[in-house]
């Protein structure tokens, strides 16, 4: 049991940090531009696929740098030529544009790389067990993922809190018009933020690709969870996104690891009553419920605290 807790905590924190790599970009983009970038998870997917392809051509380490740069450039192009032109039609049109984009990216990816999972391997350098706890070998690659996410997290924190660029971004989070009036090129700031956000998502994709499954539906399966994270944490709040990422990551990892059900806790129901909703609920294991846990959390937070954990403003 202790083994399960330790391993699941490690995995959960890891998944949570990955989620934060994605949700931080998403939430900053949302607060600044008012655009919920539906294609954010698609950039994550593009990162994984570019990472796979570049790893095949030039090796993992160059790919780790190049793939996020490429995706970042795509993100900037999307902002410059797509969103900026759509802005005059309102936020719904912008949201729909990114929705269409997410749809198109998924189709393009499955057209080029096929629909089946890719053989995206952990680089040989990191393909060894880092340490052994309670007879479980913990892979070094996961430690590497954790390290990368933590480094990015710290770097992001420093940039946002300690640099002039961060100051402008923070100001633009709450008072975009004021920042514009002060003479900053808000358009360029938006484009840069969009690019950096996309690049971070792609970085998450490159490092998550070998550990999780690299497949053309990975964006569609992760995207909704990402939205849960930023609603749960409170729209536009970075600390909220951080906490929510960790909470969702831990909860989901623990749910997958646990095999209990109501039947195993309280004994089976009387079999003569036949199948019903009750028996379904009674027999379902926590692991089976894992996919819906984030959405249940979403509904709960909406009922208890509609603005999210750390959210301060109504949209």
């Amino acid at each position: 049991m202790l083994e399960l807790i330790v391993i699941s905590t490690l995995n959960g924190v890891l998944f949570g940090m990955l989620l934060f790599l994605l949700s931080s970009g998403l939430t900053v983009i949302f607060s600044m531009m008012g655009v919920l970038n539906f294609a954010h998870a698609s950039f994550y997917m593009l990162g994984a696929f570019f990472g796979f392809q570049l790893t095949k051509w030039i090796g993992f380490w160059p790919a780790l740098v190049l793939a996020p740069l490429l995706v970042g450039a795509i993100g900037m192009a999307v902002e410059r030529y797509g969103l900026r032109n759509t802005h005059k039609h309102g936020h719904v049109a912008e949201l729909l544009l990114t929705f269409g984009l997410a749809f198109a990216i998924e189709e393009i990816v499955s057209m080029i790389w096929g629909k089946s999972p890719l053989d995206y391997r952990v680089p040989a350098l990191l393909d060894f067990p880092a340490f052994t706890i309670f007879s479980t070998n913990y892979p070094a690659y996961k430690i590497f993922m954790l390290a990368v996410s933590v480094i990015i997290f710290v770097a992001l924190l420093i940039v946002l809190k300690r640099t002039r660029v961060g100051l402008i971004v923070q100001a633009a989070l709450t008072h975009p018009h004021m920042v514009g009036h002060l003479g900053h090129n808000v358009g360029r700031v938006f484009m840069a933020v969009f690019g950096v956000g996309s690049a971070l998502a792609a970085l998450a994709g490159v490092i998550a690709g070998p550990a999780l499954v690299t497949q053309s539906d990975m964006a569609a399966s992760l995207g909704p969870i990402l939205f849960v994270v930023i609603v749960f944490g409170g729209l536009g709040s970075l600390p909220g996104a951080f906490i929510a990422s960790l909470v969702i990551g831990l909860v989901q990892t623990f749910a997958v690891a646990l095999d209990g059900s109501l039947a195993s806790a309280f004994g089976p129901l009387d079999p003569s009553s036949g199948p019903s909703v009750l028996t379904d609920v009674w027999n379902v294991t926590i692991a089976q419920v894992a996919p819906i846990v984030p959405y249940v959390l979403l509904v709960l937070i909406l009922i208890v605290r509609p603005m999210g954990l750390m959210g301060t403003r109504e949209t």
Partner: protein
């Protein structure tokens, strides 16, 4: 400004308005009756049935998106739950021997969709805009995932099957043949379309529009936008449930795919491509999207990509959808200045078609690069691996793009002139 425009155009249309108004509806009903007599093959009957269901579904979606300004990414939840409700009802009718004939079943589908909307809607509609969009997405995923867990209700992966012919007959119709099912769908289509149109004319429909445009002012005049959104959400859920019930009757099955994100995405595509600002927009969109879906799946593996591209194009260049584009021409036709624009349109057709062909060729080249079967574009065969094909595609895309841009600028100029003349003659664009 805009309110003045609508009121003057309304006054101009008033004298013959009644006749023309009912004429359009009667014509629509007539077309629905006559269609299967002209195209009587099994394939076209199936297509018509699917289009009919899609129209009801898209119209119900437009109660949210077009009327109330709520962008939902989970509308298929009501559609799917309506389908399941209808299936369970049909099975219950058969097993209990209740005297409920098939034509009443879609009503139970609607009640199924309504029930869920009533339960979940209050929490969901607290806020509009992006927050609502995200919540609807989350709820959609929640229901879709739960449907695989609650096997006794949703039948797991395989779904719930039913037999529509086992229900009591009505007027001697067994609803076994597709033709009878088509007429059943057409009947419900007309009924729901009239009901939904009537809804837009009620005070509730008007206050929905007000909530869409300016919720704060609605609060000032004493309405609660939250309540209005909730009621609109319930209506949308009800009509989506009817569409789901019709689908359950048509396919004799309901499964978790009904509830899924793909279905929600398709209805969003149909409604938005058709145009949300006019009542007939979603009808056009549903016809187009369903037709393309049925037609393109046989031609290409990348048909969803074409949807995505059409959708992005509409969002970026014509947010009013096809209906918006068509209705833009109304003041020009009235003022008689449309003919000044048509030459520019004709000029633009060539490069635009070239651009489209180039894009199609490029997509198909990528899609069939490893497969090897040739691309047949208007009778000309292209080999996906040959550089000639790549070059042709590149020339068409790049050349078509630059020439088309010039041509479209010309259209914009001609359009502005024509619109100015029309405005001078008193027809506001």
């Amino acid at each position: 400004m805009t309110t003045a425009a609508t009121s003057t155009s309304k006054m101009a249309a008033e004298p013959a308005g009644g006749l023309r108004f009912y004429g359009v509806w009667l014509l629509g009903i007539l077309v629905l009756i006559v269609l299967p007599m002209i195209f009587s093959s099994g394939g076209s009957l199936t297509s018509f049935s699917l289009i009919g269901i899609a129209i009801v579904f898209a119209l119900s979606y437009n109660i949210l998106l077009g009327q109330t300004g709520l962008l939902s990414f989970g509308h298929a939840v009501h559609y799917g739950l309506g389908g399941f409700a209808a299936c369970h009802m049909m099975n219950a009718v058969v097993s209990h021997g209740w005297p409920i004939p098939l034509p009443f079943i879609p009503l139970f589908g609607g009640l199924g969709g309504l029930a869920f909307a009533v339960i979940i809607g209050w929490v969901m509609t607290k806020r509009a805009g992006t927050v609502f969009a995200m919540i609807s997405l989350g709820i959609g995923e929640l229901v879709a995932s739960s449907s695989l867990i609650l096997r006794s209700v949703f039948g797991g992966e395989s779904g719930i099957t039913t037999d529509r012919t086992a229900l009591p007959k009505m007027l001697g119709w067994s609803f076994g043949p597709q033709l009878q099912v088509y007429y059943l769908i057409a009947f419900w289509l007309v009924l729901s379309a009239i009901a939904m149109y009537a809804l837009t004319r009620t005070p509730l429909g008007r206050i929905c529009n007000a909530v869409r445009d300016n919720p704060e002012r609605v609060q000032f005049i004493g309405y609660d936008p939250h309540v209005v959104r909730y009621i609109a959400f319930c209506f949308a859920g009800f009509f989506a449930g009817i569409a789901g019930g019709l689908a359950a009757i048509n396919f004799e099955i309901a499964n978790s795919a009904y509830l899924g994100a793909i279905q929600s995405g398709l209805v969003l595509f149909s409604t938005f491509i058709g145009g949300t600002a006019f009542f007939f927009g979603p009808i056009l969109g549903a016809i187009l999207v369903t037709y393309l879906q049925l037609g393109l799946t046989n031609l290409t593996t990348a048909w969803q990509l074409y949807f995505g591209i059409i959708f992005i194009g509409i969002v970026m260049y014509s947010p009013g959808g096809i209906a918006g584009l068509l209705m833009m021409h109304r003041p020009l036709i009235r003022a008689g200045t449309l003919w000044t624009v048509i030459p520019s349109y004709l000029v633009a057709v060539v490069p635009t078609v070239a651009l489209a062909c180039g894009v199609i060729l490029a997509i198909e080249t990528v899609a069939r690069f490893s497969g090897g079967d040739p691309i047949n574009l208007f009778g000309i065969a292209f080999i996906a691996t040959s550089p000639v094909t790549w070059l042709t595609a590149a020339i068409l895309v790049v050349g078509g793009f630059f020439v088309a841009r010039l041509a479209w600028r010309r259209i914009a100029e001609a359009w502005d002139k024509a619109a100015t003349v029309a405005r001078d003659r008193g027809y506001l664009a």
